[in-house]
């Protein structure tokens, strides 16, 4: 068994020469086609370098255009030369000038001998194809493409649209069914000879000369007519990114390529000296490889495409700046909670919650004079400052950063009407936000304050209207955050289920029962305070229906035991 190689080179001819030389040295015939557009001096150098090998042929140079039939024509020329001059070959391997063999030819031949009369060519019907960029698959075969996709994209697209609208369709020759697949194949001599000597070939060639990207269709289609057994996969490791541009391998991919056990890889970066040195020199310590397994490489490529097209959610940085609605919905990278009013009802609420749940609970991050981080730190993760001015310069970025910098640790913070309010819309629109509001709780510290009543009344009025605007913003139909609003009277009447609800949200798996709660502020006389506000002309409706007595109805005494249900 002998494999013959066809090598299509366009540029970096010295690398193509290196690869061709290594095959020729192993007594494998190589037929080389060099793009007429390649540099003539380089071509002369290449010919001189390979002159020592009697089993290397060069075919007449054609100018190759991407996506045009010229590449197929060059392949056919080379195949005919190979079959004519080297009649002892049993299989023909099509490679490009930027391919690099990763395993010795002997291993390839060994592998092929285990699959007698089998053609390794990816050949998939147009309905099954998933990789085509631009959505053209069957239409490659039925439309006309006189304009260059690379140079005149607009005209190309417009002409495709026009043909679609007019319902134009070329006739596909009888006896063939369109198939697509990777350009790089390895066919048996019998199949290749049969394709080339098909009496209907002139008709096929005429037809394919107008098909778009025929190098991915010509052999892939005709092989279905002539092959005995088809293994629909390529022995060449060749992958494309989301733009349809081939992935390139560099020196640092050495281990990855070695472990892939693929026979040939493309494209190799022409300056990847390390790869060429490693794979072209015989390695005496080499152990024979197994079945080709590019899965690990594919996984890395898939992850990279994902990063390029979807990116890391909740990250805003120099090369990711989502401005369009669909992507703005997830503003932060992880869920977080906002507590409004709780700290007014319970002294030391944030410390209690932090200890209880083991998550991070900040004070008022949007406090007007200073950012109150957990533990009143002056700087926080990621070197975030506690300066209110720095924060207010871009309050949204402040929160995005905070959540990004603390990945893996749930963040909560306190919020209220005395805080900087500009963040409200951001919170409401962020699906990662869980917002728990007890309205009117701001009245408790006012009730305890020693300020004169006239001032208290004015502050209460201001807080109430700020809070009302905030809650209204949360209740907008466009809100994506999870939120829950209670008024103070409701909350005080039965705080346990509410706290339990909040805790469950913070710590879903734990299902911990609430056995003790933080100390509630003293509300003796609070009902009278509320009435007094009313008497002074301010209606504290956000507090809820707070009775004149010390406790809202239903809860008779402050000593009611907190029993867990």
């Amino acid at each position: 068994m002998t494999v013959g190689f066809i090598l299509l080179a366009h540029q970096d001819l010295h690398r193509a020469a290196q690869v061709a030389g290594s095959w020729a040295q192993n007594d494998k015939p190589v037929v080389i086609h060099v793009d007429a557009r390649a540099n003539d001096e380089d071509y002369a150098d290449m010919q001189a370098e390979l002159a020592q090998f009697s089993n290397i042929r060069f075919t007449e140079r054609r100018a190759c255009d991407w996506g045009k039939f010229s590449i197929v024509a060059a392949t056919i020329d080379a195949a005919e030369t190979l079959l004519r001059d080297f009649s002892d070959v049993s299989n023909v391997f099509l490679a490009s000038g930027s391919c690099l063999p990763l395993r010795p030819v002997a291993e390839l031949e060994d592998y092929l001998s285990r699959y007698p009369a089998t053609d390794f060519i990816e050949s998939v019907t147009t309905e099954e194809v998933t990789w085509t960029v631009g959505g053209l698959d069957l239409e490659r075969f039925t439309l006309r493409f006189p304009f260059s996709w690379k140079k005149r994209r607009r005209v190309f697209d417009a002409y495709v649209r026009l043909q679609r609208r007019l319902g134009y369709s070329r006739r596909i020759p009888k006896g063939i069914e369109p198939h697509l697949g990777s350009q790089w194949w390895c066919l048996t001599k019998a199949t290749l000879a049969s394709i080339l000597s098909d009496p209907k070939r002139p008709e096929y060639d005429r037809y394919f000369s107008k098909v778009w990207i025929p190098d991915e269709a010509y052999f892939q289609t005709l092989v279905r007519k002539h092959a005995v057994t088809i293994e629909s996969r390529s022995l060449t490791l060749s992958r494309f990114d989301h733009q349809g541009k081939p992935h390139v391998y560099y020196d640092d991919h050495l281990q990855l390529l070695k472990r892939s056990d693929c026979f040939v890889a493309r494209k190799i970066w022409p300056r990847a000296d390390g790869l060429y040195r490693h794979f072209l020199l015989p390695d005496p310590k080499r152990k024979p490889g197994g079945e080709p397994n590019p899965r690990k490489i594919d996984k890395i490529f898939a992850r990279a495409s994902e990063q390029r097209t979807r990116g890391r959610a909740g990250l805003r940085m120099q090369s990711r700046f989502p401005t369009h609605d669909l992507w703005v919905l997830q503003k932060t990278c992880a869920p977080y909670s906002v507590f409004e009013g709780f700290a007014d009802i319970f002294g030391n609420f944030e410390n209690w919650l932090e200890k209880r749940t083991g998550t991070r609970v900040h004070g008022h991050l949007y406090h007007k004079s200073k950012v109150v981080y957990s533990g009143r730190a002056e700087v926080f993760n990621g070197c975030m400052s506690n300066s209110a001015r720095l924060r207010d310069y871009n309050p949204e970025a402040f929160l995005e950063n905070l959540i990004w910098n603390t990945q893996g640790e749930h963040q909560s913070f306190l919020f209220g009407p005395a805080d900087q309010q500009r963040i409200t819309r951001f919170l409401a629109a962020d699906k990662n936000a869980s917002i728990f509001v007890v309205t009117g709780a701001w009245a408790i510290p006012l009730f305890h304050s020693k300020l004169d009543f006239e001032r208290v009344r004015r502050i209460a009025a201001r807080y109430q209207s700020i809070e009302a605007a905030h809650v209204e913003a949360l209740q907008s139909p466009r809100t994506r955050a999870t939120y829950k609003v209670w008024n103070l009277a409701e909350f005080v009447e039965d705080p346990m289920p509410i706290l339990q609800y909040v805790l469950d949200g913070l710590d879903p798996g734990a299902a911990r029962k609430l056995t003790e709660v933080p100390k509630m502020a003293d509300l003796t006389g609070f009902g009278k305070f509320v009435q007094k506000l009313k008497n002074e002309g301010m209606n504290p409706h956000s507090v809820g229906d707070f009775p004149l007595g010390d406790r809202p109805s239903g809860q008779s005494t402050a000593t009611r035991p907190y029993i867990v249900r």
Partner: protein, 336 residues
């Protein structure tokens, strides 16, 4: 942006070009080796003044990266910088005693040189204290990046400025000639940057980092811009507008994805905050040759008196580009 706005930008670009051609007359050639430049060389353009101590490591760093030719504008150094550069085989040097400020902080001079020597090649424009980092820069030369960008039909590459600083007071961080500056200044702020979009030029405006935290907490708006586009495949008619923060035509500023994806990007490690910095900022205050009436340098001068150290307990110690990527400061996009 309407037709009128586009036309206005076009006029601005033309004006900048004419201006740079006029400013070119301020340059006199000292050492011209530009004939060595090959068609696919990546070129480095740089303006400097009295940076002799930093030069050996700087040149070494960029030669290893794959820079084949350096083009320097020397703004009247008197510490031997010019003589040192002239000795190097791969460097061309121009001299000027013109005003740095009136040459738009060096941009006019470099625009002129770039339109003469940079067209059709990848141009890297950096200061002597800026060290370019890009994905895989520890295992691939810069040509790997530029080849890939060419294949992706991308003409510009963004790299935000990251201010590096030492652990202790700046005055104690002594830098020695030839030394890697990031052995001295090895820390940076990882997560306090803010971004907004400049509607006129389409670029992002990035602020934050150690400088905003330590010097501009009371006036965040005046904190220095950290967005940079230092690597551009230069075409005739390109112009940098202010430093390397943005350029025209506007398309070159779109180094970011607006649909949620990440384009590839790098970083410029900024080795400014060391012992030399205080002397430099006092000198610059006297020279008044910097942006916004050297407001920045006044803030430094004041800030340094209050707190001589930029380090805090959350400061991140620099390891490599992968660390920067994990932290979300740069991205390899779909390049693997």
């Amino acid at each position: 942006m309407g037709v009128l706005g586009t036309y206005r930008l076009r006029l601005e670009r033309k004006r900048k070009r004419v201006r740079s051609l006029r400013k070119k007359r301020e340059l006199s050639v000292v050492s011209d080796r530009t004939r060595q430049i090959a068609p696919d060389d990546v070129l480095l353009f740089c303006t400097l003044r009295n940076e002799r101590v930093r030069l050996p490591f700087f040149l070494d760093y960029y030669r290893k990266m794959g820079i084949r030719h350096f083009l320097f504008v020397d703004n009247d150094s008197d510490d031997g910088s010019r003589e040192y550069l002239c000795e190097q085989e791969d460097i061309s040097v121009w001299h000027t005693s013109g005003s740095y400020k009136r040459a738009k902080f060096g941009v006019d001079w470099l625009n002129a040189l770039q339109s003469r020597y940079g067209v059709g090649r990848w141009n890297l424009v950096v200061d002597v204290d800026e060290f370019f980092v890009f994905p895989f820069c520890d295992s691939r030369p810069i040509q790997a990046l530029t080849d890939w960008l060419d294949a992706s039909s991308t003409k510009s590459f963004g790299a935000m400025l990251i201010d590096m600083y030492p652990r202790g007071p700046l005055d104690e961080a002594q830098y020695h000639e030839g030394q890697n500056p990031f052995e001295v200044a090895e820390y940076f702020d990882s997560g306090n940057y803010t971004l907004s979009r400049n509607p006129t030029y389409g670029n992002l405006w990035i602020q934050g980092g150690a400088r905003a935290r330590a010097f501009f907490a009371s006036e965040p708006r005046r904190a220095p811009a950290l967005n940079k586009i230092p690597l551009v495949k230069w075409s005739r008619g390109n112009v940098y507008i202010s430093s390397t923060h943005m350029l025209l035509p506007r398309g070159l500023n779109l180094v970011y994805d607006e649909w949620g994806g990440e384009k590839p990007s790098g970083a410029l490690l900024h080795a400014k905050f060391m012992k030399t910095f205080r002397e430099k900022s006092e000198e610059e205050l006297v020279r008044k040759q910097h942006f916004a009436n050297s407001h920045e340098y006044r803030a430094y001068s004041k800030g340094l008196k209050d707190s001589p150290s930029l380090w805090c307990r959350w400061s991140e110690k620099y390891i490599n580009w992968r660390q920067l990527e994990i932290l979300g400061l740069m991205s390899k996009g779909s390049w693997v």
